[in-house]
Symmetry: C2
Subunit: 238 residues, 2 copies
């Protein structure tokens, strides 16, 4: 199995996606929040690039919920932000949610050429890796990064995937990027929460009073759901 990793959507766009399992990670917070939403009964997410696009789509489909943020701040008239605590069962049960976030959406769009696209976070590492092994495809881990620059938390999460895949006993061929991510994960696997608190985006979120969200994003293996992104929608296919 060949395992590669892109630190940013720009890097992802330069890579060959065809025939691969692609995993999109925005650990703080979008892909964590999606996982929590599915745990709480959400039907689907429709990720879109702009706030305008999101508003138009919900105007045409009044049953949809409008969710998202820009630099972790809420958007006017939106039903939900990007906090996992927003997506409670009473709000999201059975709902389709149109979502736009700073970085996660761009990574999803760049990932569309993959044979399969999965949503990954620290919450669903184990379940996700089972799906990857089952798929028997080469793996490309797509970090959302921050404004097309490296961010530590997505890379460490990607490194956790590399390490788990290796532990399944499959022979792995790793690129420099996948190897580096694995090393970065090894260095903090005993305390993912501390890493999330000390990385740039984590510090920013704490400063906005969102430390509770950071704690949720550190709940390794708390979920068994593996959302897939297919034909413009994110949903559970089993």
């Amino acid at each position: 199995m060949f395992v590669d990793l892109a630190f940013t959507p720009h890097e992802l766009e330069k890579k060959e996606l065809a025939g691969k399992s692609v995993v999109v990670i925005d650990a703080l917070r979008a892909t964590t929040t999606m996982t929590v939403a599915f745990e709480n009964g959400a039907r689907a997410f429709i990720p879109v690039g702009t706030v305008e696009e999101a508003r138009e789509l919900v105007a045409k489909n009044p049953d949809y919920l409008l969710a998202g943020e820009r630099r972790a701040r809420p958007l006017e008239g939106f039903h939900l932000g990007n906090s996992p605590r927003d997506f409670r069962p009473d709000k999201v049960q059975g709902k389709t949610i149109v979502m736009t976030t700073t970085n996660g959406t761009r990574a999803l769009v760049a990932a569309r050429g993959g044979a399969e696209v999965f949503i990954g976070s620290f919450l669903n590492l184990g379940a996700l890796c089972e799906r990857l092994v089952e798929a028997r495809r080469d793996v490309l881990i797509a970090c959302s990064g921050e404004k097309d620059l490296f961010c530590l938390e997505d890379t460490v999460c990607g490194g956790a995937i590399v390490e788990r895949l290796e532990k399944t006993g499959h022979s792995l061929t790793k690129t420099d990027a996948a190897q580096a991510a694995k090393v970065l994960h090894e260095q903090c696997e005993d305390n993912v929460h501390a890493m999330l608190c000390s990385c740039e985006w984590g510090i920013y979120l704490e400063g906005l009073g969102l430390g509770k969200d950071v704690r949720i994003c550190a709940q390794v293996d708390s979920s068994k759901v593996v959302p897939v992104y297919r034909e413009g929608k994110i949903f559970l296919d089993r």
Copy 2:
């Protein structure tokens, strides 16, 4: 002191360079080769982006030497490749060398906005860090990468700079990228040569029979020269 790192020229282009000391690294092999050439008496390098540009410049200035490669292979009619072993005293003493390489040149061009731009490699780590401390500016480490993608060897070399700066006792504020580079360096500082042999580009060079070059690139602290890049030329300013 604020320390940041760009994994690729594309990332560098997105960062603020003004007022900073920028260090350009292409550890395998361009910045190593330049350091060796200055040790052997070269006068200056003029880095250019294309093979055509290099040929034209040397046609106009017959005293100049023509050097470079594409994917580590020699170019027709060039006096020198990009192997440090090519730049012997009898060839480069007193010479100005027009150079074009796959990745290093792009990083140099992207670095031009820095207050000062230094040439870094494993060979001149100690001397380079002395210059950085003396300059008292924020530091931005610019890895050349491979075709605008992450490469391990430049990042590890950048991580070595971060670590050395920290050891000077200066209080450092590190970005996620600088912190990650430091961790990656710590993991292989006892054997830089082994890391250079196991990274993607090192494996490629070994496959071309260039293992001797890789060994030279691993000679930590073997040189005291710190080339600077200023007004289109690389030279020693002291």
